[in-house]
C-alpha cells in the first residue's frame, strides 16, 4: 500500500517561494569549489554513461551517431533475455534523455540499456536487470528516468543501489510526482531529481529537504525525439539527465570521486547554495594536483 501521508509534488521544492538558500561550509562552498574546478573544460570524455530507458536512436543529430554499447533486456517464459545488438528507441524517451546528457557532456560514452518496450511483461524485473547490467559492466554514471512503485521490488532495488554506491556508480533518478513510493528514486544513496521551471541547462538547485535532492530544468524544454525530430516536453524525466550530464563532466575531470563526494560537490555548486567562506584558501589547488 502507498503511504497514508500525501507526498508533496517534489518540484514545488524548487519554486521561488519555497526554495531556501543553502548555507555553505568552508571549504566545501563556492569559494572552495567552483564550477571551473569541477568541470571546466571537461566534455565527459572517457566517462561511461548508461541510459536505462527505451533505447537511443544513435543517428539522431542530437546524439551524433555514436553509441558505445547496447543491451536490450526483455523477459519471456524462459526468463530474462539480454541482447547486445544495436537497437532503436521504442518511444523517443531514451533519445531525449541521451540528447540532454550529450548536450552537456558531448564526448561522454553513451550506453543504451533498453528496458522499456512494447510489453509490460516483467517490467520491474527487467528494469532491475538493467541497473544490475550497468553495475556489472563498469558504468561510471547511470540515468534512470523511470521507476517502479511495486513494493516487492523495494529490497531488490535497495540491494542494487547500495551495490552501485559501493562501486562508486552514481544513479541519477527522476523523482515521481505521484503519491506513494517510487523506487529507487527515494533511496538515500541515489541522486533524486525533480524539475524546476528554469530553462538554463546549467542551472540546478539542491533541496535541503530530501528525498529529492536536486532540481534541474524539466518544464517546457526542447528535447530530441523519434524520427530525428525535437519536441517540447515537461516532466521530471527530463530533469534527471541534466544532473547526469553534470556528473559526467565532473567525473571526466575527477574520475575517482565517490557518490557522496559527487553529491557534496553538486550541493556546493547549486544555484541556491550560499558561500559563507571568505577564506581564500580553497580545495581547488590541492584537488587539482591529483
Amino acid at each position: 500500500m502507498s503511504s497514508a501521508v500525501p507526498r508533496p509534488a517534489w518540484s514545488e521544492a524548487f519554486t521561488p517561494d519555497v526554495l531556501t538558500p543553502l548555507p555553505g561550509f568552508p571549504p566545501l562552498d563556492k569559494h572552495g569549489i567552483t564550477r571551473e574546478w569541477a568541470w571546466g573544460g571537461s566534455t565527459g570524455a572517457g566517462v561511461k554513461v548508461a541510459v536505462i530507458d527505451s533505447g537511443i536512436d544513435a543517428d539522431h543529430p542530437a546524439i551524433g551517431g555514436h553509441i558505445s554499447g547496447y543491451v536490450s533486456i526483455r523477459q519471456d517464459s524462459d526468463g530474462l533475455i539480454m541482447d547486445s545488438t544495436p537497437h532503436r528507441d521504442q518511444f523517443g524517451h531514451g533519445t531525449a534523455c541521451a540528447g540532454i546528457i550529450r548536450s552537456l557532456a558531448p564526448e561522454c560514452e553513451l550506453f543504451s540499456v533498453q528496458v522499456l518496450g512494447p510489453t509490460l511483461t516483467g517490467s520491474s524485473a527487467v528494469f532491475a536487470a538493467g541497473v544490475r547490467w550497468a553495475i556489472e559492466h563498469g558504468m561510471d554514471v547511470c540515468n534512470l528516468s523511470l521507476g517502479t512503485s511495486r513494493r516487492e521490488f523495494f529490497g531488490v532495488f535497495h540491494e542494487l543501489t547500495d551495490l552501485a554506491y559501493f562501486r562508486r556508480l552514481p544513479l541519477v533518478c527522476a523523482a515521481n510526482n505521484v503519491a506513494g513510493a517510487s523506487y529507487p528514486s527515494l533511496y538515500g544513496v541515489v541522486l533524486s531529481v525533480a524539475a524546476h521551471d528554469g530553462t538554463d541547462p546549467e542551472q540546478f538547485y539542491a533541496n535541503p529537504l530530501p528525498p529529492v535532492e536536486f532540481g534541474a530544468p524539466g518544464i517546457d524544454i526542447p528535447v530530441p525525439w523519434l524520427d530525428d525530430s525535437e519536441i517540447t516536453v515537461t516532466g521530471n524525466s527530463f530533469a534527471a539527465p541534466h544532473i547526469t550530464g553534470h556528473v559526467a563532466r565532473l567525473l571526466g575531470k575527477h574520475p575517482h570521486l565517490t557518490v557522496f563526494e559527487v553529491k557534496t560537490i553538486l550541493r556546493a555548486l547549486a544555484d541556491n547554495a550560499v558561500p559563507q567562506s571568505t577564506d581564500e584558501q580553497s580545495i581547488t589547488n590541492t584537488s587539482d594536483t591529483r
Partner: protein, 280 residues
C-alpha cells in the same frame, strides 16, 4: 429484467437445487442489492466519467480519456472518453508499443508535450483512431495502491494557456489517484462476480450442462428479483436512506432510529409475511 416472479418460482421448483440454498441465495442477493445501493449509489462507470469531466474542467481541456491496460494482450483500451471524439474511440484498442500514452504506461512517469501537432507521430495514440490531432498532451499513469499499473489518464489541448504546466501535471496526477481507486474497485467487483459464477457452477456434483443451466437460471433469478415490484420498493427505500446519509452521520443515525422504532411496531402488529412482501 423482463422476468416475472413466476421465474423465481421456477427456480424454486428446480429439482436439483436445494430449497434452503435458494432461500439463502435470495436473501443474500436482496441484501447485497440493498447494501450496494446504500454504499455505492452511482455506478463506477458514471463515477469515472464524472471524474474525467471534472479533470477536464479543472484543467481546461476539450478532450479527455482514461486508457486501461490489458496486461495479457499488451493493449491500451479507451475505457472512458469525454469530448468530441468520445463516441468514435470508446472501446477501441491500441498496442502498448508506441505513443505518449504507451510511453507513460511503460515508464510510469507523467509527461506533457507542448507541440504535438508539429509531430503527429507523437500523438498517434489518439490521432490514429479518432482523426483528432492535438497540439498539447498531458498524460499521467494510473497506478493501483498496490503498485499495479492500471492505465493512463490523458487530457488534450490545454485551453487558456499555451501548454500544460507542472501544476496541471500534479493536479491530473491527483485525479489519476482517484481514478485508480475506482478502477481497482470495479475490477474487484468483476472478480467477485466471476467467483460467484464459479461457486454456482460447482455447487453440486451435477453434470456440466446441468450446472450451466443452473447458472443461467441464477442469472434469470437475479434479473427477476430486480424486476420484482417489491425489490424496486426496497431499492427506493435504499435510495432514500442513501440520500439521507449524504446529509451526515447525525441524519443517518436519526433515520436508522426512526426505522428501528417503526420496525418494532410492525413486528408487534403484523404477520411475518408483511416483511417478506416488503423485501421481495
Amino acid at each position: 429484467m423482463s422476468r416475472t416472479p413466476d421465474d423465481v418460482d421456477a427456480v424454486d421448483r428446480y429439482p436439483a437445487v436445494d430449497a434452503r440454498f435458494v432461500a439463502d441465495l435470495r436473501a443474500a442477493l436482496i441484501t447485497a442489492r440493498a447494501a450496494d445501493m446504500l454504499s455505492a449509489p452511482p455506478p463506477d462507470d458514471l463515477l469515472l466519467d464524472r471524474l474525467i469531466r471534472a479533470a477536464a474542467h479543472a484543467i481546461p481541456s476539450p478532450e479527455g480519456a482514461l486508457f486501461l491496460l490489458d496486461h495479457d494482450r499488451n493493449l491500451l483500451i479507451f475505457d472512458t472518453v469525454v469530448g468530441s471524439t468520445a463516441e468514435k474511440v470508446k472501446g477501441l484498442t491500441m498496442p502498448l508499443g508506441h505513443g505518449i500514452a504507451g510511453l507513460v504506461a511503460v515508464s510510469r512517469q507523467p509527461i506533457a508535450v507542448a507541440n504535438a501537432q508539429e509531430h503527429p507521430r507523437h500523438a498517434r495514440d489518439i490521432a490514429a483512431q479518432s482523426g483528432y490531432f492535438p497540439t498539447t498532451i498531458l498524460a499521467v499513469p494510473v497506478i493501483a495502491p498496490d503498485g499495479t499499473m492500471l492505465g493512463v489518464l490523458e487530457l488534450l489541448d490545454r485551453q487558456r494557456q499555451p501548454t500544460y504546466s507542472l501544476d496541471d501535471l500534479n493536479l491530473l496526477t491527483a485525479f489519476a489517484e482517484l481514478a485508480a481507486l475506482l478502477v481497482a474497485q470495479r475490477q474487484q467487483r468483476g472478480v467477485m462476480a466471476a467467483l460467484l459464477g464459479q461457486a454456482l457452477a460447482s455447487l453440486t456434483g451435477l453434470p456440466p450442462e446441468t450446472r450451466q443451466s443452473m447458472v443461467a437460471r441464477s442469472d434469470a433469478f437475479l434479473a427477476s428479483v430486480e424486476a420484482n415490484p417489491g425489490t424496486r420498493r426496497t431499492v427506493e427505500l435504499a435510495t432514500l436512506v442513501a440520500a439521507i446519509s449524504e446529509r451526515g452521520p447525525t441524519e443517518l443515525q436519526a433515520c436508522i432510529g426512526v426505522l428501528e422504532v417503526f420496525a418494532d411496531y410492525v413486528r408487534s402488529v403484523q404477520t411475518p409475511e408483511f416483511g417478506m412482501e416488503l423485501l421481495t
